[in-house]
Symmetry: C2
Subunit: 337 residues, 2 copies
């Protein structure tokens, strides 16, 4: 094979406060030769996820990305060359790849590598049927234990995971209230996504609105944002409530990673409630069941898959910043040209 040029974004600096474009460095390099057991992928699309902020900063559930290493991302690529008997040219593969044209991988690591059925839409694979949808699924059902009649509140509700979490709770018979930033997002939640109510945290008093929309308290809170909103929810828990900790995007860019803890956590005692964190990988054995449900609901029109699509590798740094300014509307993806 002729030598391929690989354009890529390397991690140039650990982010201080908000992620900046200068935290990444553009690079062009030759693609190294394949070894046995490896495949070479042409990346087709990248997923953008708040958890990437953690990978850039420090050891989390995976080691911190080394400085000078290609920026990592969940991605779908197409096999262009294979030294593995189980992967052939043209196969679509999902896994933890990088911000580059070509990725050489053996598929090891926490995320593994999954071959997609032929004809799969890479954008659907990276959103509803990927980590995003699976996180919403297990967070709502396995951790949140939603049941019919529950009052379900989700923050980051117009985001990729939050919107799917709310729609799943709705399918399960909950009253669903979403918290999102801005009138357009809130209108989408009630008019399109089927939420019972939406709270615009940029223009409303969230504590007051929660009181109005949740007169009997909150049974399940799916938290994507942390910070002040988490505290306001803790102040309105119903007895036996479940707080599902999915993320804390309001806090990721604070100095020292986390600014403040939830002052009202003591309400967990008074309302005999729990707050539980999870990582989607712990449910890996149940992915097939989840994907089957998600496909069924998507096909029946019960779940909408809202995608915010950027295009072109060169725009990757700008695109990740959208997550943290709240500019994205639905799942943020980037398609390579």
């Amino acid at each position: 094979m002729a030598e391929l040029k690989n354009r890529q974004w390397l991690l140039a600096a650990r982010p201080q406060g908000m992620i900046k474009e200068s935290d990444f460095r553009w690079n062009e390099a030759a693609v190294p030769a394949l070894k046995d057991g490896q495949i070479l992928l042409r990346n087709r699309a990248f997923s953008f996820d708040p958890t990437q902020r953690g990978w850039m900063s420090m050891d989390t559930y995976i080691p911190a990305i080394p400085l000078g290493h290609v920026m990592l991302a969940m991605a779908v690529g197409e096999v262009v060359e294979s030294k593995r008997p189980d992967y052939a040219k043209g196969d679509l593969v999902q896994g933890l790849f990088g911000w580059e044209d070509y990725t050489l991988t053996d598929g090891r690591g926490l995320f593994g590598m999954q071959k997609l059925p032929p004809g799969t839409d890479p954008l659907l694979a990276l959103s509803l049927l990927g980590v995003t949808g699976l996180t919403a699924y297990f967070g709502t059902l396995a951790v949140g234990q939603v049941k019919e009649g529950d009052t379900f509140v989700v923050s980051g509700a117009a985001g990729a995971t939050g919107s799917v979490a709310g729609m799943i709770a709705k399918i399960k018979g909950c009253r669903v209230i979403g918290i999102a930033g801005g009138r357009a997002k809130c209108e989408w939640l009630t008019a399109q996504a089927g939420f019972d109510a939406a709270i615009d945290y940029k223009h409303e008093d969230v504590g007051e609105a929660l009181k109005r929309h949740c007169p009997k308290g909150i049974d399940v809170y799916f938290d994507n944002v942390g910070g002040e909103i988490l505290d306001l929810v803790l102040a309105r828990l119903a007895d036996g409530a479940r707080v599902v900790l999915c993320g804390a995007i309001s806090q990721y860019n604070q100095a020292g990673m986390l600014g403040t803890g939830p002052k009202n956590y003591f309400n967990l005692i008074l309302h005999r409630s729990r707050m539980e964190g999870f990582l989607v990988f712990q449910f890996a054995q149940r992915y097939p069941e989840a994907i089957a449900d998600l496909v069924k609901w998507f096909s029946a029109g019960q779940i909408k898959n809202q995608i915010d699509l950027a295009k072109g590798l060169e725009h990757a740094p700008k695109t990740i910043i959208r997550l943290f300014t709240g500019a994205n509307f639905g799942k943020q993806l980037l398609e390579l040209k």
Copy 2:
């Protein structure tokens, strides 16, 4: 019956910061006449519990004690007069009574009223076999879900609930580390209560000591104190950890009730762990099973019942303050003369 004089302590002020003796007011009154359905008790002993700080301050799981009302306490009394067919003179009764010689009650309310088997030691009933021991039992087993081989950490470890929680975890095959204030308490934990290790928070670097004693992380944390120690534990969770929220005594006397939230709560996500509050009443249906176990373990010498005993109604205000200065060693009780 001749008119009885009732000496009592009334709630005079909502506590600001640390409870003060002046938050209570001494009163002497005649005992009112009994109505049908009521019994009159001569109080024999009072329990002192951190949760009383909440009752004095605000509505919690019971309404705030009204100013001018007798101070409430879990207590054991002996029936001196009864207008109920199911209670007779001489019966020993446990319930939510008050800091007074005589309590007139119909036994209603969240705590109900339980007749004790004849010959029961009121001090044992108010400690190991009362709310204290039951809280330790359900917190450790039902909420903490301890299993053999777990590393179990408890704060307030020389306190009434904490010490019993640790001894139960030990019976279940955990490695048990207690956090307590002062060398004498720590020595008691390892030499008498059978703990594997004790950390003296007054003289040791707790974070460093946790690292040394819990090299594989903490599986279950039974939290009685909140505050900084909770944060240090959250920084050392094992995957799948359970944080049992029993109390937050370090915070009860802070301005505004609660000073700070646990900054490291985000580790609940990274270690897919949960933090769960509970109130012992939610397990009321399982009390008989718990009491049977506790009696069995106590009789076998596997659980020691450490009591810190004050005497005389007039010392009740001084005695409750001991809880919050950490002066008590084991379950704080007061026996009426």
